[in-house]
């Protein structure tokens, strides 16, 4: 936990976590969403030969598109918290950490846009 004096003014830590329950809860909720999605997709395709019709048919209905997009966005948010923690643990200079965090966010936003495109044109 940051020293109170570090939380205000010019010495404020701009690249830390927010030291609340938010990230902690989000990490766990998204992990449950992902596990359920993996089980759902796994159970749908694990039995019998996997053809294109079967695979594409699974992702064709609108509800499945919505579920899959929720899972992919959960994955990216889950990834953001995890990777942010890695930067916070191993990279201490603020400029380096901030750069890595900005690059991570841009990378994940790019993945999010691509995910929408994949799921919605399928």
């Amino acid at each position: 936990m940051a020293h109170p004096a570090a939380g205000i003014g010019a010495r404020r830590l701009v690249v830390g976590a927010h030291y609340g329950l938010g990230g902690f809860i989000a990490q766990r909720v998204t992990s449950v969403v992902l596990t359920l999605w993996v089980l759902l997709v796994g159970a749908s395709v694990l039995f019998g030969p996997l053809t294109y019709e079967k695979w594409a048919g699974l992702f064709a209905p609108l509800p499945m598109k919505i579920i899959t997009l929720i899972a992919l966005l959960s994955l990216l948010y889950h990834t953001w918290i995890g990777v942010r923690n890695i930067w916070m643990d191993y990279v201490s200079p603020v400029w380096a950490r901030l750069s890595l965090q900005v690059l991570t966010v841009l990378y994940l936003i790019a993945c999010a846009v691509w995910s929408v495109q994949i799921v919605w044109t399928a």
Partner: protein
């Protein structure tokens, strides 16, 4: 009893590990699960565009689906994919263990150690089955 002794007792010191010590330092099982959880997560993070590309190929059309089959037939590709599959299963199973620990299930030393071993057993078994499937044995 000699309460007023001024003799200096050697105190244990705990410092951060240096890089050279990392190689020989023996982590407990729970520590191994933990660091592998992080490494596997980082690996999956770096592989995201590759995985999205595979997902895209698999869904776009019958043609791209067949192209994916073609790409996936190479031995190097299969090994790379298997590494990611192992990362995924380890991250998933270790994550479920962490969710249980969050619910205060199995937090004593002995069951925590046993569950770390179980994480390796289950994730490696799932990876093995995936490998059999990937290399066409089943």
């Amino acid at each position: 009893m000699n309460t007023f002794t001024t003799e200096k007792q050697p105190r244990p010191q705990f410092r951060n590990l240096g890089l050279s010590q990392l190689v020989t330092y023996r982590l407990p099982m729970a520590g191994l699960v933990s660091i592998m959880h992080r490494i596997s997560g980082a690996l999956l993070f770096l592989a995201l565009p590759f995985l999205l590309w595979l997902f895209d190929l698999s869904l776009t059309s019958e043609l791209s689906f067949e192209r994916l089959r073609g790409v996936a037939s190479g031995a190097f590709f299969k090994l790379a994919l298997l590494l990611l599959i192992w990362s995924f299963f380890h991250h998933l199973v270790a994550g479920i263990r962490y969710l249980l620990l969050d619910l205060h299930i199995g937090i004593d030393l002995k069951s925590s150690r046993n569950s770390s071993i179980a994480v390796y057993a289950v994730s490696l078994l799932l990876t093995f089955i995936a490998a059999l499937k990937l290399f066409g044995a089943i």
